[in-house]
């Protein structure tokens, strides 16, 4: 599973790609662990940009549940952005749309994070993380 990260002001943006299933969820969890620790330590927001995620299974959703718990305990914000239609349906059916703050676009998620993050994103030309 391909995964990239980018920083916009105080906000870390993590962008996984492909399928998050029983084969790749552990990889996502391992990649997220230090980023969540960093965001939680400074109570900064973290956004998961799901624009390139095609599918997520229960095992992948468990990773998001753990991330949500960790960020909530640190009083830090975790958002998920730009769900593809299939993934959006999986979120609804599993009720994860009630667990996580879901935004239609990365820009909207960053607007929820902080003014500085949104400004940095726009200054960068609204580019997606690579």
């Amino acid at each position: 599973m391909h995964l990239s990260t980018q920083q916009f002001a105080d906000t870390i943006v993590v962008a996984p790609a492909g399928r998050i299933d029983h084969r790749s969820a552990a990889e996502l969890e391992a990649a997220l662990t230090p980023l969540l620790a960093e965001a939680a330590a400074r109570q900064g927001p973290l956004v998961l940009d799901f624009a390139a995620v095609e599918y997520i299974s229960s095992v992948g959703l468990r990773v998001l549940m753990i991330a949500a718990r960790q960020m909530r305990a640190a009083q830090a914000r975790l958002g998920v952005a730009a769900l593809q239609s299939v993934v959006a349906e999986i979120f609804t059916i599993s009720r994860f749309d009630k667990v996580l703050a879901v935004s239609p676009t990365l820009e909207a998620a960053l607007a929820q994070s902080s003014d500085a993050a949104l400004a940095a994103y726009r200054a960068a030309g609204g580019v997606q993380p690579t």
């Binding site: 029983h22 599918y55 299974s57 229960s58 095992v59 959703l61 468990r62 549940m65 718990r69 299939v86 349906e89 999986i90 609804t92 059916i93 599993s94 009720r95 994860f96 009630k98 667990v99």
Partner: protein, 319 residues
């Protein structure tokens, strides 16, 4: 093995449709009938057939009890929830006064799965045999205890007079009972529960209720995929949403519709039937969950379609 009939499908404790709930259904039904022809019985049947099940029927309220029609002379049942009482009445009506043998497989010994036994009338009748199978060492003790004072007015031996026998099933060992090849598997549930795989005449039925699935354990998933492999029907505990099952209701010993679909897809199962419905869910909530689960199966399908049903008291599924 010809099929199954559900006599109890509710989890944790039995529920009944309330007057208020029935009133809501009747009002919706009458609204649906406006402008429709209802002059004849055939008109009424046609109207009812076109309505959603949550409006024209009810998922029902008895706790776990599923009958397996083996095609043979003996009765075979999974669990003795409150649904065992109507099953017993139907069995007596079907076979009259003839002596019968009942084989009953127990998933576990929690209250909602044993409460039907004191009301199981066939076990009161001389000449009948009831053989209870399970993997819990406490099987006989648990069934006797629920009829001890002050919990029940009539004692176990007084009412059953030796007609109930107990057989311990060693997990992982295959047994032959009433023409079925039966294997059991330990499941994750407080006090343990056991799933059953029944095989006969090329048909496979899996009964897996009160079973939680730890998602971070690939070996656990693999064990269940193996146990479910190529089943014609899997009866599955889908009590909660996935989000609830792994957060506020983690370690409560139950599963979700999402995990049910995933395990059945991985195992090449043909039909998933969700049961052990959450008691707070009304008919509309269960029907909505069924529609969502069918949609999940559709958007995640990578091989042959998986049929998805939600069990209700009285549902029959042919194998």
């Amino acid at each position: 093995m010809k099929g199954v009939r559900f006599w109890g499908t509710r989890g944790s404790l039995p529920v009944a449709l309330t007057s208020a709930g029935l009133g809501r259904k009747l009002r919706e039904l009458l609204r649906a009938a406006r402008g429709q022809a209802i002059a004849t019985d055939a008109d009424i049947e046609r109207l009812l057939a076109g309505l959603p099940f949550a409006l024209a029927g009810t998922y029902g309220g008895h706790s776990a009890c599923v009958q397996i029609d083996t095609g043979g002379p003996d009765f075979v049942v999974c669990d003795m929830g409150s649904g065992l009482r109507p099953f017993g009445q139907a069995a007596m009506a079907q076979r009259g006064g003839k002596a019968q043998t009942f084989h009953i497989f127990m998933s576990h010994l929690h209250w909602d799965h044993i409460m039907g036994l004191p009301f199981f009338v066939p076990a009161f009748i001389p000449g009948n045999r009831v053989i209870v199978y399970g993997s819990h060492r406490e099987l006989e003790m648990a069934l006797r205890r629920q009829q001890e004072p002050p919990s029940f007015p009539v004692g176990f031996d007084t009412i059953f007079e030796g007609r109930i026998e107990f057989r311990h099933l060693e997990p992982g060992v295959t047994h032959d009972v009433a023409g079925l090849r039966v294997s059991t598997m330990l499941q994750r549930h407080t006090g343990d529960s056991y799933g059953y795989r029944f095989e006969a005449q090329g048909k496979v039925l899996v009964y897996s209720t009160d079973s939680e699935h730890p998602l971070a354990d690939p070996a656990h998933t693999e064990r269940f995929v193996h146990f479910f492999r190529d089943a014609d029907l899997v009866i599955f505990d889908a009590m909660y949403s996935l989000a609830d099952a792994i957060s506020v209701k983690a370690d409560w010993g139950h599963s979700s519709n999402v995990v049910g679909v995933e395990l059945c897809q991985l195992a090449g199962v043909r039909h998933l039937c969700m049961t052990h419905h959450e008691p707070v869910f009304d008919d509309a909530a269960i029907e909505a969950m069924l529609a969502e689960t069918r949609r999940l199966e559709e958007i995640t399908r990578s091989a042959a379609p998986l049929q998805v049903s939600a069990a209700y008291d009285g549902l029959e599924i042919a194998l």
